[in-house]
Structures are given as structure tokens and as C-alpha cells.
């Protein structure tokens, strides 16, 4: 049976939820409302005058093939970042969980990249892969591969995915490791005594028991890939070449704050709002059902 705490009267409960409601209103409802309102206008950059256009901004963005392409770009980018960062983190966590000697050192070292800001991470990777002075591109050149992410769309995508995933691995690692350590050792040991190998144990016991962590990370990572990777994209490719790495959130920025087209930018952020909302609903409705708590 569920336990319910009940309050007498209205005042105290209201008072208790007020801070949360205020924070949500100020930092979410108000800006979101502003975005929806502004998406119906084409203002001039200085805010001196604006023209009401109704659905005009949405019509404009949905007839722009590059905007439609940015949906695909965002999907590929977010999925790749999520899979790479979670995959590597899980593997590292599994390994770190088995280590007995020097475990603390390994863990500390693995957590370090999390302290690096996305923009700095972007610059680090950019230096390594710079077609002219980069260390990695120099070695690639030695083995006969001509690396040039400035012109090659696939290489550019690969680079931003690597850079974004790299700085995220630590975060995921932390959660996976904590998740692994909370799995009762007795379960695993019992399976081992019954003759189950490492991978069999992982597949049938560890991974299912880890699913709440995995689900949480899935949501958090997709949100990360959607929004926080801005710094990486900005420093490495600025959305290029030919908009091959122009994810939706970067396009909102570049159209609005570089191009000064605030109407289109507002319409794009409204679309983004819906996409992320939809994604979260989907995740909670369908994937959460398969999660064992």
C-alpha cells in the first residue's frame, strides 16, 4: 500500500510548492511563452519595430530544405553521441568494477574529462585533428589518409561526435559504476557458482538490474546531445561544412544571433520545444515500461 501524507488546510502545501512553481514559471513558462509569442512576428534586430506574420515564420522554416535536413543531422548526432558515450562508459565501468589494485586512481582519472567545459573540449579535439597542424591528422597522413574535416562532412560529423561523447563518458561512467556497485554481490556470485560466465552473467543479471541507471542516462544524454553540445559544435565546425553538423539548437543560435533573424529563430525554438517534449514522453511511456526498478 502507498503511504500518503495529508495536510490539513491549504496554506502549508501551497507555501511548500511555491518555490518550485516560481522557479518553473520564471525559467520555463515565461521564456517558452515569449518564444511562442515571438514566433508570430518578424522583428528588426534592434527591437524598434516588428511585423505580425502569423504562421509565416513556420512556413519559412519548413520550406527550407536545410532546416529539414537539420532534423536528420540532429537525430544522427544525438544517437551517435548517446551510444558512443554510454557504450564506452559502461565498458569502462565494468572494467573498473573488477579492478582490485589502484581502483581509486583509475576512477579518478576516468572522471577528469567531466571537469572540461564543452568549448574547451572542442578546442582540444580541434587541435588534435586540425588538418594542418593536428597530431592525429599528421599520423593519419603518414598512413596515407588525407584528413580534412573542413570539407568532408562525414569526418566533421565524426569529430564532433567524438568530442561531445568524450566529455560525457566520465559522467556516464560515474553513474554506471555506482549502479554496478549497488547490485548485490550475492546474486552475481550465485550465478558464477552455477557456472555462468562473465558475459552470461552480464546479460542476464547485471544489465537488467542496471536498467534504471541506463534509462536515466539515456534521457539525460539525449538532452545533453540536444543542447549542451553547443560549445563543441561552435568551436569545431560552426555547423559546417555545408551544414552537415548544424544541429537544431545550433541553428537556432546561428540564425538568431549571427543572422539577426529573430523571427525564424523563435519559430525554430518552439519546434525544438515540441521535439524534446515529444521525445521525453516517448521515452517515459515506452522505454520505462521495460525498466526493472
Amino acid at each position: 500500500m502507498e503511504k500518503r501524507v495529508t495536510f490539513k488546510g491549504w496554506l502549508l502545501p501551497l507555501l511548500l510548492i511555491t518555490p518550485q512553481v516560481v522557479v518553473t514559471a520564471v525559467f520555463f513558462f515565461w521564456p517558452a511563452g515569449q518564444a511562442i509569442y515571438q514566433s508570430a512576428f518578424i522583428p528588426d534586430p534592434f527591437g524598434l519595430k516588428s511585423q505580425f506574420v502569423g504562421w509565416g515564420n513556420f512556413q519559412f522554416i519548413f520550406t527550407d530544405p536545410y532546416y529539414l535536413a537539420s532534423f536528420k543531422t540532429t537525430a544522427i548526432f544525438s544517437l551517435s553521441v548517446t551510444i558512443v558515450s554510454m557504450g564506452v562508459a559502461l565498458w569502462l565501468a565494468l572494467m573498473a568494477d573488477r579492478i582490485i589494485k589502484g581502483a581509486a586512481t583509475y576512477r579518478t582519472l576516468l572522471i577528469w574529462p567531466y571537469a572540461v567545459a564543452p568549448a574547451i573540449a572542442g578546442v582540444l579535439w580541434l587541435f588534435m585533428f586540425n588538418p594542418r597542424i593536428g597530431v592525429v591528422s599528421w599520423y593519419l597522413d603518414k598512413i596515407g589518409y588525407d584528413w580534412n574535416h573542413v570539407l568532408n562532412s562525414n569526418e566533421a560529423m565524426l569529430l564532433v561526435v567524438l568530442a561531445s561523447a568524450w566529455s560525457r563518458i566520465s559522467y556516464n561512467f560515474l553513474f554506471f559504476l555506482a549502479g554496478l556497485q549497488s547490485i548485490p554481490k550475492s546474486l552475481v556470485e550465485a550465478a558464477a557458482m552455477d557456472g555462468a560466465g562473465f558475459w552470461y552473467r552480464f546479460r542476464t543479471i547485471v544489465f537488467p538490474l542496471l536498467s534504471p541507471t541506463t534509462f536515466f542516462l539515456l534521457v539525460v544524454n539525449i538532452v545533453y546531445a540536444f543542447f549542451e553540445t553547443f560549445g563543441v559544435i561552435h568551436t569545431i565546425t560552426a555547423g559546417g561544412p555545408q551544414q552537415a553538423t548544424n544541429i537544431m539548437v545550433y541553428k537556432v543560435y546561428s540564425d538568431g544571433f549571427v543572422g539577426q533573424d529573430l523571427g525564424s529563430s523563435a519559430a525554430q525554438s518552439v519546434v525544438l520545444l515540441f521535439v524534446v517534449g515529444l521525445l521525453t514522453i516517448l521515452q517515459f511511456r515506452y522505454i520505462e515500461k521495460k525498466v526493472h526498478y
Binding site: 534586430p45 534592434f46 573542413v150 539577426q260
Partner: protein
């Protein structure tokens, strides 16, 4: 005890410092770092020590786009600076913002400052004046593209460094010889859209956009998908395929390759001179930008790139007086001649040009007057006065994208330019709608 006395001393000295700044402050936001930033600070320092009524405070706000954006954001928050540096690409945006700016001719008239708009170079001034000839912003740094030659690289590839490269036709052969002679990077460029489309069009007296490149009206349409531009880009795309033209990026990334001695030729702004002179460990010279001999009337004149200073509205008249004084100080020929000689930017007044000539600077530094000759050689036409297009920063961005499509072989020059024109026109229509 000790801390207390230090604090007291600090507070007293702060109070004193505050008192001594009775002068009116003038805020100037700019986009210069490095050597250019130092030279700008030097000018400010000189102005501040030349009088005691005004104190100019120069603040770096990021690159050109970022500076414009901070100016716009500040205006919305009613905290705009007095002077804002805006690159030539943002000119149409500023001109359309009638309530946000105070035209320079007005500031000068009200401030009783020495100002004769005829003293400025026509080709520079034209970019920032109304059709009636009223100057809206003060030209600050202006340059035009030229071609830099690495003489040592020519010799190494067995090509005579003095060989003729005045036309693209002759350059075509030279690039082939350089490649055969073992050059890994015969040609590199900076600012591809500015050099190989915007200036190319003006230099051959071909429209970049209709309605005099947007000078005449807001309902201008892009026109750079015509025969000449496509022919030029076709040639460049062939060079890119043959490894004769190396693409390095949208801005001036190629400058690093050239200065390191990797490349034989580079098309770059005349303002790249300071950097090349400082870093190049090889013999180099500067030549006029090549043109297509087959095109009728070429070469016309090239157009400028760079920035101008816009006065923002909403300040006290006393402060505008100070701004007027600063602007006329910046236009004096001593300041301008020094700026021109230090940076490779054009002198903005005729007097500064004459002064530099009289000082013998051009004889000592051959090639430094090519930019100004190239710009002022012929009276500008409707196609070569400059460009005045809304959302131009964005349009340049999409031109860059389409050009990258050509260099990587994804698109033909015609396809890419047709697409750029179509996409750009949509942005122009939106700009027109926002500024009706």
C-alpha cells in the same frame, strides 16, 4: 589592523581616482585583438592625452559578428555604447535601424567638428553614404583583396617569379607549372566569398545583386549566378580537383599556410600585409588581383572590406560633442597615414595617401600602394560601388557552404550558385519584410 589600514587607503585612493575623472566618458566597442588592438589603443591614448574634456574607453567585444551582436543586445537593454565598430557586411542592417543610430554627418554638424566629407576616398566613402551623399558612419579600416607571391616558392618550382600573373588566363598556366615543379600548394585564398565572388563581380563590372547591388532599393535580388562568376568558379573547381588550389577554410586560415611558406600564391586582403611581412621567412611581393582578360571592360575596380564606426542614439548632446571630436581626430592625416602604413589598410582620406607618398613609404615598401590604385583606378559603376544587402552575414555563410560544395566536388559551380542565389533571395525578402 594592517588589513584595515590597507582597505582605508584603497577606499581613499578609489575616491581620489573617481574625482579626477570629471571628463565625459565615451564608450567605443570594437573587434580588434593582437597588433590591431594595440594600434587602436594607441590612437585612443593619443586622443585622451590631447585634451582633457573627454575620456574615450575602448572595449574589445569579440570578433566582428560578436561585436555587432553585443551592440544590438546593448541597445535593446538601453546600455548601448556611443561608438560601435560594425563590419561592412552589417552596413545594411545598421542603415535600416533608423532609430538606433545617429548619422555621422549629423553628429559632426551638431558637434561643430571639422568635417569635410569630400576629403575621404570616394571608393571608401561611397560604401557608407546615403544616395544623397550624406555620410552615415565613419570609415575606419578598409582593405581590398590583392595577390601575394612567394618568390622563393616560384624559384623552387622552377618558375620565374616575375612571370606575368596579371590575368586569370595566365595564372592558369602558372599554376600548372608550379604543380609540375613540385609545389604542394600553388594557390590558397582567404575570405573566399569576398575575394572570388563579391570582388570578382565588381572587378569585372558584373552585378552581384540587382538595383546597384542593393544601394538603390531594398527589393534587390542576388545575381551572382551569371556567366562570369560561374566561369571563374568552374576554373577554380578544376584547380581544386588538380591540387592547384588548396581550400583551407572560410576565414583567413590560408594566411597561416602562406606565411609558413607552404603556398606559392595567396589571394588575401591588403591588410594581410602586416602579418606576412612580420612572419614570412621568404621573399614575397604583392601584385594586383588577377582578372579575366576575356571579360569586357575588366579590370574595373575592386571594393572594400573592413569596418566603419557607427554612432548609437540615446546619449547626451555633450557626449556627442566628444564623439564628434574623436571622429575628426581619427580622420586627421597623421593618424590615418600611420594606420595605413602600420596595417596595410587603405588610408581613408586623400590627404593621408598624399602624405604617405611624400614620406617615401611606397618606394621603401613596394606593393603597398597597389590596393589603393586598384580601388581608385576607375570611377566606380553601379556594380562596383560596393554591396548593401540585408542579412548579408547569413548570405555570406550560405555562399561559403555552397562554395564548399564546389570544392569537395559535390556540386557544379552553376548548381551551387543557383542554390545560393535562391536561398539568399529568401533571406533578402525577410529582411525587406522586417524593415518595411
Amino acid at each position: 589592523m594592517k588589513i584595515k589600514s590597507v582597505l582605508t587607503a584603497l577606499i581613499i585612493s578609489m575616491g581620489l581616482a573617481g574625482n579626477s575623472y570629471a571628463a565625459t566618458e565615451i564608450q567605443w566597442w570594437h573587434a580588434f585583438t593582437g597588433r590591431l588592438g594595440e594600434l587602436l589603443d594607441e590612437q585612443v591614448e593619443k586622443f585622451n592625452s590631447s585634451q582633457s574634456d573627454y575620456k574615450v574607453v575602448a572595449t574589445h567585444k569579440g570578433n566582428y559578428s560578436e561585436t555587432l551582436n553585443s551592440g544590438i543586445a546593448a541597445f535593446r537593454a538601453k546600455e548601448q555604447p556611443h561608438l560601435l565598430m560594425v563590419f561592412e557586411v552589417g552596413t545594411a542592417t545598421m542603415m535600416a535601424a533608423k532609430g538606433a543610430i545617429k548619422p555621422v554627418y549629423e553628429v559632426m554638424a551638431e558637434g561643430d567638428a571639422a568635417f569635410d566629407s569630400d576629403a575621404y576616398l570616394g571608393a571608401v566613402k561611397g560604401y557608407y553614404t546615403t544616395p544623397e551623399g550624406q555620410m552615415l558612419s565613419l570609415p575606419y579600416n578598409s582593405s581590398t583583396p590583392v595577390i601575394y607571391v612567394n618568390r622563393d616558392a616560384f624559384t623552387a618550382a622552377g618558375v620565374d617569379p616575375d612571370t606575368d600573373i596579371s590575368t586569370w588566363e595566365s595564372l592558369d598556366g602558372v599554376l600548372g607549372k608550379l604543380k609540375e615543379g613540385g609545389s604542394e600548394c600553388p594557390l590558397v585564398t582567404a575570405w573566399q566569398s569576398w575575394v572570388h565572388l563579391e570582388n570578382l563581380s565588381a572587378y569585372h563590372n558584373v552585378a552581384f545583386a540587382s538595383k546597384d547591388n542593393g544601394f538603390a532599393a531594398l527589393d534587390t535580388e542576388l545575381a551572382f549566378n551569371s556567366e562570369l562568376q560561374v566561369k571563374h568558379l568552374d576554373a577554380m573547381s578544376q584547380w581544386a580537383k588538380d591540387g592547384k588550389f588548396i581550400y583551407t577554410g572560410r576565414r583567413n586560415e590560408g594566411g597561416a599556410n602562406f606565411r609558413a611558406g607552404d603556398c606559392a600564391l595567396m589571394t588575401e586582403s591588403s591588410a594581410g600585409y602586416a602579418g606576412v611581412k612580420k612572419e614570412a621567412q621568404f621573399e614575397f611581393d604583392i601584385r594586383p588581383l588577377p582578372y579575366w582578360k576575356s571579360a569586357e571592360g575588366a579590370p574595373q575596380n575592386t571594393i572594400i572590406g573592413g569596418s566603419s564606426l557607427w554612432v548609437m542614439s540615446g546619449h547626451e548632446s555633450e557626449e556627442y560633442k566628444g564623439v564628434a571630436e574623436l571622429l575628426s581626430f581619427l580622420s586627421t592625416s597623421d593618424i590615418q597615414a600611420k594606420w595605413h602604413q602600420d596595417t596595410g589598410y587603405l588610408p581613408i582620406t586623400m590627404a593621408a595617401y598624399e602624405q604617405t607618398k611624400a614620406e617615401g613609404f611606397y618606394e621603401k615598401n613596394p606593393g603597398t600602394d597597389i590596393a589603393i590604385i586598384q580601388m581608385t583606378g576607375k570611377a566606380p559603376t553601379g556594380n562596383s560601388k560596393g554591396l548593401r544587402l540585408g542579412s548579408f552575414d547569413q548570405i555570406r555563410g550560405l555562399i561559403d557552404e555552397e562554395l564548399e560544395g564546389i570544392w569537395s566536388g559535390d556540386k557544379t559551380a552553376q548548381e551551387a550558385m543557383d542554390s545560393a542565389v535562391e536561398r539568399g533571395n529568401k533571406l533578402l525578402r525577410r529582411f525587406e519584410q522586417a524593415n518595411r
